[in-house]
């Protein structure tokens, strides 16, 4: 068992609506998946990963859910250079300087 200590910054997940309870007018691809919610916070008590746990969020609310992640990362970045953007401006600077 992976015991996670109280006070650790974690993420919990909840299913808010199962597919059968979702709005009838949704497109099929959305209607057939559950409606889910993820929130981050500090663990209120020691808990096991992938089991139910309670967190205290940044607004001070207590929220229960399945403990899915420890110290969840922000993994968004810029990524590799986008070549399609790199030459933008060259020709326009020529136009500015009347060197067409």
């Amino acid at each position: 068992m992976n015991i996670v200590k109280k006070g650790t910054w974690v993420e919990v997940k909840n299913i808010i609506l199962n597919p059968e309870d979702r709005l009838s007018q949704l497109p099929k691809d959305t209607k057939e998946v559950p409606y889910e919610m993820k929130v981050k916070g500090f663990l209120a008590n020691d808990a096991n990963i992938n089991e139910n746990a309670t967190i205290r969020t940044l607004s001070g609310r207590l929220i229960k859910g399945e403990l899915t992640q420890l110290q969840p990362e922000y993994n968004h970045s810029f990524g590799p250079p986008v070549i399609e953007l790199l030459h933008i401006g060259e020709e326009e600077i020529n136009i500015l300087n009347n060197r067409q």
């Binding site: 497109p27 959305t30 929130v39 986008v82 399609e84 500015l96």
Partner: protein
């Protein structure tokens, strides 16, 4: 079950929950089953524009620089017919505390929440508005919860939205990240009901009155610097609050000739409630997926009467492609030294085309910029698009196909704008509004209201009724 009550129970109590969380009794504005007194609703706030400015100044919001984009203006004049090429000005709204014009919208709402004794605020948004509410709440010492539509059913989220979650959390807000679906509204209602926090709706009178200062500042600064009204103001158009607030502010200053031009990124063909289409959009706001439904049916929002009513103000409604906005964002950085956007540059892309049609002595204003950074940048958004299988290449922007291709223009002369026929939008608005109504029984109050809603006269409404009475009744 996550919340105390089921979906049905919560939705049945929607009016009660909204009324408790805004402390505005919307029924007082209703004048008939169809009509309501919009101007009365906008004044029950009890703030005139000078007071709004004072509140925003206290909150360090507004009074942003109005830059003349000299290099871009010169570039446009070099490719325009002789005598054409309007001066392009840009309001640098990224200079607001959280990096966008949304601070104006949030400042008044959070001020009102504090004044009325609420201990926290809730906002449902995956855009810049969340960061704005979080920032203002931090200043006012209120708790803040931001609800985002954040990921598809595989848990994958667009970098732009993840960045906004990071920013909200860095400003001390709790961020609730939801999968794709309009049930966001239910989650927001349940959260308001549980916390008893203030509903910092994007569509309350506070949120719109907060944007009026943007239009007012533009009008007064252009008057002071150039002694005239701008010929046109280009406004990135999504839910309608930016268009409505800016236009009202321009008018409050006294500008009557300035053309109000709404600009959206074209996302035709992508379904906004589709789990699979969710990550095939490369813009999360400022696009037609919001602007068309909110213009033709404003009251589909999270308040009984939406204070954002863009069709009352729009003189022109145009679209640009995703590739054109990314191109424009790069050009602004490389020619003007301003790294901003991208979403805020939607209206700049249009202004670069429209300026070519205006005379040299005229002025066109791009009324916002927004902050940029990891996740929220053409490089991040295009890398994400490529990962989703979207074909990104340089070429003719006419080949753009939302969800399948993003074509980056090869040069400035390839930029185009596409007109959305406002007549069709007006017809669509009337169709939505008069659904299940007997149009032969409309009274004068209703007709006057409808005329104002679509910015036409009473004859237009009479003629619409005559044309449609047999079809609809």
């Amino acid at each position: 079950m996550m919340f105390g009550q089921t979906y049905q129970q919560t939705m049945q109590r929607r009016n009660e929950i909204i009324s408790n969380s805004l402390k505005v009794n919307y029924e007082q504005f209703q004048t008939s089953p169809i009509a309501f007194d919009y101007e009365k609703m906008m004044t029950v706030l009890g703030y005139n524009i000078k007071e709004v400015m004072k509140i925003q100044k206290e909150a360090q919001v507004g009074n942003t620089p109005l830059w003349e984009l000299k290099q871009l203006t010169k570039l446009i004049r070099n490719i325009s017919p002789k005598g054409k090429g309007a001066r392009i000005l840009m309001k640098d709204e990224a200079a607001n505390p959280s990096g966008s014009f949304k601070d104006r919208r949030a400042s008044l709402a959070v001020y009102e929440a504090k004044k009325r004794g609420f201990t926290g605020v809730v906002a449902a948004t995956s855009g810049n508005y969340g960061a704005a509410v979080a920032s203002q709440a931090a200043k006012q010492g209120l708790k803040c919860i931001v609800l985002q539509e954040a990921s598809d059913s595989d848990g994958i989220g667009q970098p732009e939205i993840i960045e906004k979650a990071r920013k909200c959390e860095s400003l001390g807000a709790e961020v609730v990240q939801l999968s794709v679906g309009p049930e966001l509204f239910y989650t927001a209602l349940a959260t308001l009901d549980e916390t008893k926090y203030f509903n910092a709706s994007l569509y309350s009178p506070y949120a719109i009155a907060g944007v009026e200062t943007l239009g007012y500042e533009i009008a007064s600064e252009v008057q002071q610097q150039f002694g005239k009204e701008p010929a046109a103001v280009c406004i990135t158009h999504a839910g309608g609050g930016n268009v409505t607030g800016t236009a009202r502010g321009l008018r409050k200053y006294g500008n009557i000739q300035t053309k109000i031009i709404g600009v959206s990124v074209d996302l035709k063909g992508l379904h906004m409630a589709s789990d699979q289409d969710f990550n095939r959009k490369s813009f999360t706001t400022g696009h037609t997926g919001f602007s068309i439904p909110f213009t033709t049916n404003p009251d589909r929002s999270d308040v009984p009467y939406n204070a954002a009513r863009p069709l009352r103000y729009l003189d022109q409604f145009i679209t640009v492609t995703q590739g054109e906005v990314f191109y424009t964002t790069e050009l602004l950085a490389k020619l003007e030294g301003l790294e901003r956007g991208p979403a805020g540059n939607t209206s700049l892309a249009a202004a670069l085309v429209l300026a070519q049609q205006l005379d040299e002595d005229e002025i066109i204003v791009v009324q916002e910029t927004e902050y940029t950074g990891a996740g929220k940048h053409p490089v991040a958004q295009l890398n994400f698009a490529k990962k989703q299988g979207i074909n990104v290449y340089k070429g003719n922007p006419e080949e753009n196909k939302p969800g399948s291709t993003i074509v980056i223009p090869e040069h400035i002369q390839q930029l185009r704008v596409e007109e959305i026929d406002l007549e069709r939008i007006r017809e669509s608005y009337l169709r939505n509004k008069l659904k299940n109504q007997n149009i032969n029984k409309l009274n004068t109050e209703d007709k006057n209201f409808l005329a104002k809603e679509i910015n036409r006269d009473l004859n237009y409404i009479e003629s619409y009724i005559n044309r449609n009475s047999s079809v609809l009744s």
